[in-house]
Structures are given as C-alpha cells and as structure tokens.
C-alpha cells in the first residue's frame, strides 16, 4: 500500500520502511525531500558556458569555442568557513521571553532563593517584557525588598496570593531598572574620591516604591499575612523540599 508508494519514489533512502508510520519518522532521512521551513538557498548565478570566439588567421578555422577565463588570483590559504554549530544562529533564535510558570500569577507570594534577598517572601507584580525577569516588591516596609527584578529560576512560587489588581505597574520596564553608566576616570585621585561618595537613592524611586507598596499593604488583610512576609524562609532538619507543598 502506502509503503510501496514511498519506495517507488526516486531518491528514496535505502532504509526499509517497517510500517507506514515509520515513514513519517524524521529519523529515517529521505533524500531530495525539502523539509518544512527549510531555508531557501541563495540562487547562484548560472556559470557562463563556453563562448564562441572569432579567431583571426586563415588556417585557424574562423572561430572556436573558448572557455571563459578563470579567476586570475587564487588565495594562497584556504578560505575560512564558519564552523558548523548545532545551536540556532542568531537570526533563527526565537525572540520569546522565558515562559512564565503557571503557578506564578500577579499577586503570588514568591520565595527568593538567591541573591541579596535570599529567603525573603515577596509579592510578584508582573513579568517584564524584554528580559522576562519578574518584577517583585517586598513590600519594602514589610521586609526591605524594594521594587526589584528577579529571575524566575531562582524563585519558589507559593500558593498564597495577594490581590494586586489595584496596583499600577505599567510604567515599570527593563529600562527603569538599567544601571546608570559610570563615567570612566583616568586619574587615580578621582577614582578614590568617587569611592567615598555616598550612594544616593533617586527620590523618584522612593515615590514609586511608596505608590506600589501602599496599594499592596492595603490588601494584606489576611491574618498573619504581614508576619508571613516579614519572616524569612529557611529549611530545617527533616524538611524535604521535594516533598513539600508550597
């Protein structure tokens, strides 16, 4: 039936098809079959064939077929070709951002696992568009975690949720959190002077923090929830994190 029809096609690889289903298996490679999504190769300009040239002299036959002259110059070393890399090239990488775990929704309490605020329980606000990092806030008054970006991989999502529907987080994006570029100083004196400078916090940041936190704090009505966010998470003897429900 179908197996026979496939075998009759020209350019068929000599692997015997055990069943029609295995014909669909991409492991059995078939020659001369374009794969779905195969990149069209750049069309090479057709090489000019032998040209007819008129030749002078009575005894030379008038004309003859002459091959076009090859390149006058050949490079001494082999041209370097880019190595075959199994990973996708940049133009073929998907520009999607890390997929957000289904357990993480706006308002979820997350446990931070690494970084300066490891062990803290924070409230998740939204996933940032460009980097895919998670925007979280302590709230700052509760546990000292400011509006901050956090990587999804270093986070445990708990099942506790806070209502953050009233919080406006539209203005926060990756550009908001990017570091101010440091001015390069050539002199040593200037360098040491700069070290002594105190780190000033942008008052705009403070205002933004307050605006977001006030809305979150208003919704922390569940008994013990504030204490829960204040307390850090840790493992103690007998805790089996793989068996624990969060």
């Amino acid at each position: 039936g179908r197996a026979m029809a496939i075998q009759a096609r020209p350019g068929f690889s000599p692997v015997t098809m055990r069943s029609p289903a295995s014909a669909a298996n991409p492991r059995y490679r078939r020659w001369n079959v374009t794969k779905k999504g195969a990149r069209p190769k750049a069309a090479k300009p057709a090489a000019p064939g032998p040209q007819k040239k008129t030749v002078g002299g009575s005894k030379n036959g008038g004309s003859r077929m002459v091959e076009p002259q090859g390149p006058q110059y050949y490079p001494a070393d082999d041209e370097k070709k880019p190595m075959y890399v199994r990973t996708k090239s940049k133009e073929h990488q998907s520009s999607k951002v890390a997929k957000l775990r289904s357990s993480i929704t706006p308002g979820t309490v997350l446990i931070l696992l690494s970084g300066r605020f490891r062990g803290k329980r924070v409230v998740f606000l939204k996933q940032l568009d460009k980097s895919g990092l998670l925007l979280v806030s302590g709230p700052f008054k509760v546990n000292g975690v400011p509006l901050r970006r956090v990587n999804q991989a270093y986070v445990i999502a708990t099942s506790t949720k806070v209502d953050v529907s009233g919080v406006d987080v539209a203005k926060f994006d990756d550009a908001y959190f990017s570091r101010a570029k440091r001015v390069q100083s050539a002199k040593d004196d200037e360098f040491f002077a700069k070290q002594a400078e105190k780190k000033e916090i942008d008052p705009k940041r403070v205002a933004d923090q307050k605006a977001v936190d006030d809305k979150i704090m208003a919704k922390l009505t569940k008994p013990n929830l504030k204490e829960y966010l204040t307390a850090p998470f840790s493992l103690s003897k007998g805790d089996r994190p793989h068996a624990m429900q969060f």
Partner: protein, 114 residues
C-alpha cells in the same frame, strides 16, 4: 483490613476467604470502600480490629448489609488509627503559609505553657 500498599492504598476491605498462607480473598465491598473483589497478598494488608457478620465468600449484597449493620466506616473514622492517617495527609498537603501559621501556633502554645 486496611490496604497498605498498591493502587488501593489507604482503603478498607473485608477478608472473605483465605487462598493460601500468603494470600486472601478480599472484597471492599466496592460500593462502600472502593476495593474490588480480588486476591491480595497478606503482606499488603494491615489487619484491623473490626469484624463484620458475613459468611465465608459472602456476596456483595450480604457484605454491604453486614457493613451497614456493624457501621464499620464511622467506627473506623472515629478511631485514632484513622485520625493519625488523616493528620499525616493534612500535614503533607500544607502550604508554606500553613506551615508558617502552625509555627506561630506552636510558639503561642509554648508561651502559654510557661
């Protein structure tokens, strides 16, 4: 008997006959406990103290009637054994917030004891 191991783990069943030294014939009854009529290894069972007034190889109808008369289910659920199992399940299903609240409650209790 309580089934300790296998797909019917945690369910009660009645021993209605003995196959050999290792296996017994068992029935839920299905509509009451969910254990089908089957031969099961004694190693998979933990015997309980409850007995039911049914004859050897009693059929489903007789078994169900006997169960209702003895009211085994409610007796079982009131027992400490069953309560312990229930508590273990609850503990395993606790969320992080629940564990936090338990911790607070324990602290409160020790403070009250002093």
């Amino acid at each position: 008997a309580l089934v300790n191991y296998g797909p019917d783990k945690g369910k009660l069943c009645t021993i209605i006959d003995v196959v050999d030294e290792n296996r017994v014939l068992v029935d839920g009854p299905v509509s009451v406990t969910g254990v089908h009529h089957q031969a099961i290894s004694l190693k998979r069972l933990a015997l309980t103290e409850y007995k039911v007034a049914a004859l050897r190889n009693a059929r489903q109808k007789a078994l169900i009637a006997a169960w209702e008369e003895a009211d085994v289910m409610s007796k079982w659920q009131a027992s400490t054994w069953a309560k312990k199992i229930e508590n273990k399940k609850k503990r395993a299903a606790m969320s992080d917030f629940d564990r936090f609240e338990v911790m607070l409650a324990k602290k409160k209790r020790t403070a009250a004891m002093k």
